[in-house]
């Protein structure tokens, strides 16, 4: 009897391990393969260069900086709202049906398909608010889409701060806002930043929502002008983005050398992984110095 138990235990453990490995190993292999195929082009020239023929040659700086701008603007829109919404839900919201509805709205918002967000972006920002297809419209669409990420992680970060901290502060006569500002936020800033980084990585990878709201397949670049290279897009302009650039070179243009396709994919994956590693490291650091 006992032996059978041990046997079953061993098998079960192996099966679970295999399941976990099945998720990880093929994906790591594929990613390694993508980087291997991209290796002929990967380099500073490629990162800093300007596409030729829309992506059949040259580099990928314009889409890279475009993604950076998209992320920055969307972050500027959704960081204040998302963080304050997280504060509201954790600190202010009463425990009633209305808060329950807000929570459901947050989960629903997180689950709305990206293409529906794209349709929303077209209907609301591009057409109704008259932004046209622009960096601003695309950033707004991405911001609405990624707000739940920030709300959830802010709320989690705040709820990790022990209630006793707040009570101590209230007992000294501080108001609710003073408590949040001086005790709760400083103790949860790393957690909030983790959320911010996750939002950034999500925003950088999205394609469908920017497809109809402002991404452009090609914008000519003055390859020699540093100013143009660092500040190529304004809020009313269309922009190039890494994710859409990958679709264009993989699926739209003819005669694109293989290495260029894999190169774009590799840079996008690399960017996302670097961002996520930041958030992971930040979280580990936070855990290691937790004071309570």
């Amino acid at each position: 009897m006992e032996r059978r138990k041990v046997l079953v235990e061993g098998i079960a453990k192996k099966v679970m391990l295999v399941a976990a490995l099945c998720l990880i190993v093929p994906v790591l292999a594929i990613i390694a393969y993508i980087f291997y195929k991209a290796s002929p082009v990967l380099g500073l020239d490629y990162l800093w260069g300007v596409p030729e023929g829309g992506g059949t040659g040259g580099g990928i700086w314009p889409p890279l900086i475009g993604t950076f701008f998209l992320v920055l603007v969307s972050l500027c829109i959704c960081a204040p709202i998302g963080i304050m919404a997280g504060i509201y839900l954790n600190e202010y919201a009463p425990d009633n049906w209305f808060t329950r509805i807000i929570n459901m709205a947050v989960t629903s918002l997180a689950g709305v398909p990206s293409i529906v967000h794209a349709l929303f972006g077209v209907g609301a920002f591009v057409l109704t608010f008259g932004m046209g297809e622009s960096l601003l419209a695309a950033s707004c669409t991405i911001a609405v889409m990624t707000i739940p990420v920030l709300i959830t992680s802010t709320r989690e970060a705040l709820s990790a701060v022990p209630m006793a901290f707040r009570q101590a502060c209230w007992n000294m006569g501080a108001t609710k806002w003073q408590t949040i500002r001086t005790i709760v936020l400083p103790n949860s800033i790393s957690g909030i930043l983790t959320g911010v980084i996750l939002e950034v990585s999500r925003a950088a990878g999205e394609t469908a929502p920017i497809l109809f709201t402002g991404a452009a397949a090609s914008i000519p670049f003055m390859a020699d002008s540093l100013g143009d290279k660092l500040m190529p897009y304004f809020l009313g302009d269309k922009f190039m983005a890494l994710s859409y650039h990958l679709k264009v070179v993989a699926d739209k243009l003819n005669d694109v050398p293989e290495a260029m396709k894999y190169g774009t994919a590799a840079v996008l994956i690399g960017l996302i992984f670097i961002l996520n590693s930041f958030s992971i490291v930040l979280r580990m650091y936070l855990r290691s110095r937790k004071k309570w």
Binding site: V8, E9, A12, K13, M16, L17, V18, A19, A20, L23, I24, V27, P80, I81, I83, M84, A85, I87, Y88, Y92, A93, T99, R100, I101, I102, M104, A105, T107, S108, L109, A110, G111, V112, P113, I115, V116, L119, F120, V122, G123, T128, V144, I147, I151, T175, W177, R181, G205, T207, A208, S243, L246, K247, A250, D251, A265, L268, I272, F273, N276
Partner: protein
């Protein structure tokens, strides 16, 4: 120097304290923003679809197979979305067949069997897996899996239901893993200890104690996986082959090698070509409404399954 800095800080603090009423308004407004955004999404999508809603033949839409938005001269445009519903359904089912066992298995391994460094490593890798963008998965399906499927199955085209399902499974799995893991972790340790005291092995604990205790959470994880699979766009666009065919015999495993087309892929590939404000354009927004309602229902239901109807926030 130091005093100066303090006084500046003091000034800032005074300002921030004085602004409390304003800040409270901002915080409340932001808190309610999620509701506003969801309402706005409904409003604007209905706004674009509105003019055609009374004229949509819902019977045809759900139960016929002819989606011909730009008909040949002399023909009427028809909007039968059955084959796309089938496509979305098939991709969802097959991706879940792959994703649910893998996801639950991985979650159990990570939460119950793995310890220390192994556990941390797996968690980090799963998190990175979750971060891979949709478009990259599409690229993997189109460029990497396509030739593999071609040579393994000896079929002419490797972008098909199987390819799409594999890709979507890998996209949905991290969500399933992390939510299942939360559900397993939420089971109080006293349950495990009690079972251990009775002489149960780890597997028996998982099977007899954790599964029943965490079943709502695990179910919700699978539902959210379904939601993710239904809403997935760019990856299925590139990996499923976009054929609008409904197989005659569902029992034949060869349907896995058929091309399918999902609701999401239809919107993203046809919206750019549709006449703006025309019937076709509006029908694509009608598909958007179907997807939107479906995703909200899935999310709200799974939310209720996990937290109960009243909602216990603190355990969320």
């Amino acid at each position: 120097m130091a005093t100066k800095k303090t006084s500046f800080r003091g000034l800032g603090a005074k300002f921030l304290d004085g602004a409390e009423p304003l800040i409270r308004i901002l915080i409340y407004a932001s808190g309610w923003s999620a509701i506003i955004f969801v309402a706005a999404i409904f409003y604007f999508i209905f706004q674009e679809a509105w003019p055609i809603l009374p004229r949509v033949n819902w019977g045809d839409f759900f139960f016929t197979n002819d989606w011909v938005p730009v008909p040949a001269e002399g023909n009427e445009a028809t909007y039968g979305a059955k084959s796309m519903m089938y496509g979305t359904f098939a991709v969802t089912i097959f991706s879940m067949i792959i994703a649910v066992p893998l996801g639950l298995g991985a979650a159990i391994y990570i939460s119950e069997f793995a310890t220390g460094k192994v556990k941390e490593t797996f968690k980090i890798l799963i998190e990175l897996l979750a971060a891979i963008p949709s478009i990259v998965w599409g690229f993997i399906g189109l460029v990497v899996l396509n030739p593999i499927i071609q040579s393994v199955f000896g079929v002419p085209v490797g972008v098909n239901l199987l390819n799409g399902s594999i890709v979507v499974a890998f996209m949905a799995v991290p969500l399933i893993v992390s939510i299942s893991e939360d559900a397993l972790r939420a089971v109080p340790d006293s349950y495990r200890e009690a079972a251990l005291a009775l002489g149960a092995s780890k597997w028996e604990i998982v099977y007899r104690v954790l599964f029943p205790a965490a079943k709502n959470g695990l179910l919700a994880a699978c539902m959210l996986g379904v939601g993710r699979a239904v809403g997935e766009t760019m990856a299925v666009l590139m990996a499923t082959g976009n054929g609008m065919v409904i197989p005659e015999n569902f029992a034949n495993p060869a349907i896995l090698l058929d091309k399918v087309r999902t609701l999401t892929a239809t919107i993203v590939s046809e919206l750019p070509d549709s006449v703006h404000g025309g019937d076709h354009y509006r029908m694509l927004f009608v598909i958007g409404i179907v997807l939107l309602i479906f995703s909200v229902v899935i999310n709200v239901t799974s939310d209720i399954i996990v937290k109960g109807i009243k909602g216990d926030q603190k355990n969320a």
